[in-house]
Subunit: 415 residues, 2 copies
């Protein structure tokens, strides 16, 4: 345990340095990014200032440099053993290549998404390509899961056991599930986006929640294997918190920089990686509840059952300086079809839709765009942009609390 303390201390120290460096370097890079057209207008401000985009790239690169430099530290014990062998004083075990390989597979997946995000920011990669690429980047992770005799069994709830037994082996389905987790995590932060501070803010809340979960494991269940998995998670998340704090500072209202797709993909894959290699992907999904809700809520528009405008960010009211929810007119471009109408009516019935205009037959003509941000604004708004971000982050914190309750209390009723 003492060595793990040293390694953790190194990780924390490196993360602090990386955070301070990120904090200092971001303002200096603003001009460079604007000069090469990596910039966009902040539409939710009165003067629509031009801000540098893709600022997730420098912090992701700093993060990667930290991880590369950190790689040898978890093996410091082994290196010291090896030195003794060189001096023929001691016997020592073979190198833990599986641990090193896991770290490399994880960095590889994260770095792939930094590259994809950067390419997307610069070149606007088409959805049909970019939606699948995270799964390819995750191949090494899945190989590790497989070769570690990864369990593909799911423990069934008590209530189902009389019928189906205690364990069900999902086999190949479990790998498909993990590939879906990777794809979902990578894209979901990019979908809950569009106002200052919300991408970096939600990532920070998730990261801190996972770190707290890791701590609970490390200090309450001193069982070797699970200890290692959660240490692994900490090694990846502590530097992530360091650089993300710096980015959030500069992206907080009123933002001086935008984070770009690069940051969203980078953050999402970092979570996917620790969840899968740490064998707690289901707990991780609990921390993604707002993202899951936002994704499902967005589906009617994402899959074009309902008209979807190019941007679904909130609307800025220049007279009050507040944000209102943006709306979509359902039949203006082309009439909404049967399935789309059913979805809209269903959302309306369960209170998840604010209608702005009906036609004379009582059919819905205009409603809020289907994102969590717009839903919050529809019911609680108009609000300042800062308060909108804070509301979303509150929801994220509350659902993390809910996740802990489900994971550590309610779980006893079903398992």
């Amino acid at each position: 345990m003492k060595d793990e303390h040293t390694t953790l201390a190194v990780s924390i120290l490196m993360s602090i340095v990386a955070g301070i460096f990120s904090y200092k370097i971001l303002p200096k890079l603003r001009e460079t990014f604007v000069r090469v057209n990596l910039s966009g207008r902040d539409m939710l401000k009165a003067d629509k200032p031009l801000l540098p985009e893709t600022m997730g790239l420098p912090i992701a690169i700093i993060y990667l440099i930290v991880l590369f430099s950190f790689i040898p530290f978890p093996f410091i014990n082994w290196f010291e053993g090896a030195k003794l062998v060189h001096e023929e004083q001691s016997d020592f075990a073979t190198f833990p290549y599986n641990k090193l390989g896991e770290i490399l597979a994880a960095i590889l997946a994260i770095q792939s998404m930094v590259l994809l995000g950067f390419a997307d920011d610069v070149l606007d990669v088409r959805w049909r390509y970019k939606v699948w690429l995270p799964a390819i980047a995750g191949i090494p992770l899945l190989i590790f899961y497989y070769t570690n005799m990864g369990a593909t069994h799911v423990v069934l709830p008590l209530q189902l056991r009389p019928y189906l037994g205690e364990l069900v082996d999902l086999g190949i389905l479990y790998y498909i599930y993990m590939a879906m987790v990777i794809i979902f995590c990578t894209h979901s932060i990019n979908i809950l986006a569009g106002i200052n501070g919300v991408e970096a803010g939600q990532s920070l809340v998730i990261a801190i929640s996972v770190i707290m979960n890791d701590m609970l494991y490390i200090f309450n269940n001193p069982d070797g294997a699970s200890l290692e998995a959660h240490l692994f998670s900490l090694y990846f998340l502590i530097p992530f918190v360091g650089v993300t704090l710096a980015l959030l500072y500069h992206n907080w209202y009123p933002a001086r920089v935008f984070v770009g797709d690069t940051f969203c993909y980078f953050a999402g894959m970092t979570f996917a990686v620790v969840g899968i290699l740490g064998h707690f992907s289901k707990t991780l999904m609990l921390f993604f509840l707002p993202q899951i809700f936002n994704f499902i809520y967005s589906c009617p528009q994402l899959f074009r059952f309902v008209e979807c405008p190019r941007h679904r960010m909130p609307r800025f009211d220049p007279t009050t300086g507040l944000l209102q929810c943006s709306t979509v007119r359902l039949n203006d471009k082309k009439p909404t079809r049967f399935l789309g109408n059913i979805m809209i009516k269903f959302l309306h019935a369960i209170g998840l839709l604010k209608v702005f205009q009906y036609d004379k037959n009582g059919r819905i003509l205009e409603c809020n765009n289907l994102t969590l941000v717009n839903l919050v604004l529809a019911y609680v708004g108009p609000m300042s942009e800062q308060n909108t971000t804070l509301s979303i982050l509150c929801i994220q914190v509350l659902s993390s609390l809910l996740a802990f309750i489900i994971r550590y209390k309610l779980v006893h009723f079903v398992y």
Copy 2:
């Protein structure tokens, strides 16, 4: 051996598909790249057409996708063994994590350089940063070298053995040497550049030379360990040849696309990776003789002992349509200092400098820019751009022949 044949066949098949796909996709991406300002003018043509830059990025991404998808194949044997164990029919060895880890470390290093190259193409990263980054990307490679009980002994030439013994242990110096190899390979192709087809062409010659060297090992020395190292090299270089052929086709005179720093870094790191993990970095350096010459020859300008213009590409003569060597005026901006003058005089004395103007005291006022391309043009030019590229590629092929002679014939005189 039969399994290796299957794996090689898979690699060749994937490489052919990747090559054809790259060949088809590059022309389609031209417009996208030009639209986002990833473009530059081809200054060595009469009409200075605007060409898309950074076209190394799509082929590098295709290459990476091939490698990711290929990762499971070298372990197909093990997976089949594992299946039998699951069915409790057989015993099988633990997974070869060291092999998998090596592949991951290699892909990680290559992908890091794709990311760095792309960032450099978009943002113009400063030399002081980018020169060291390849070494950081190489940390996992060096860890593998270390943990595999990597030999840091150098076998001394016969002539020195009476004085120093047969072996000298370089220890940490050997790791510094490998870091230098990584840095050198990554940047050296970027320095021998500037005319249509020369970056992709030289990379293709080097790749084919290393593949031939691998073949010699695989078919002549059936010794287990070295066989694996050279198979490893083939798995990385065969797809490289596939995608590079496609790029060279579109970059050949008159170029429709530029390759960008992305390709140069990508190619360089691919060679460094196979050389280091295959334990044949010294042989690899023999295949880099033109790059080594070009680098040393460039040093007086690179390190600013001698005035260095922003671009050192050849000069296009619009009347003849031929290339001439570009020149530098030594004392126009600021007088060349003592060391710079000595270097210039030395190069002149050994015939590696063409002087275009002397002052009345016989001092050199104007000479060719110090690159291999300009040196060739100074002595053999003026030439068409195509013939200039062909001359450089001839030099590359001849030095590969020399490398084989040194490696397999002359070596017996000293070892």
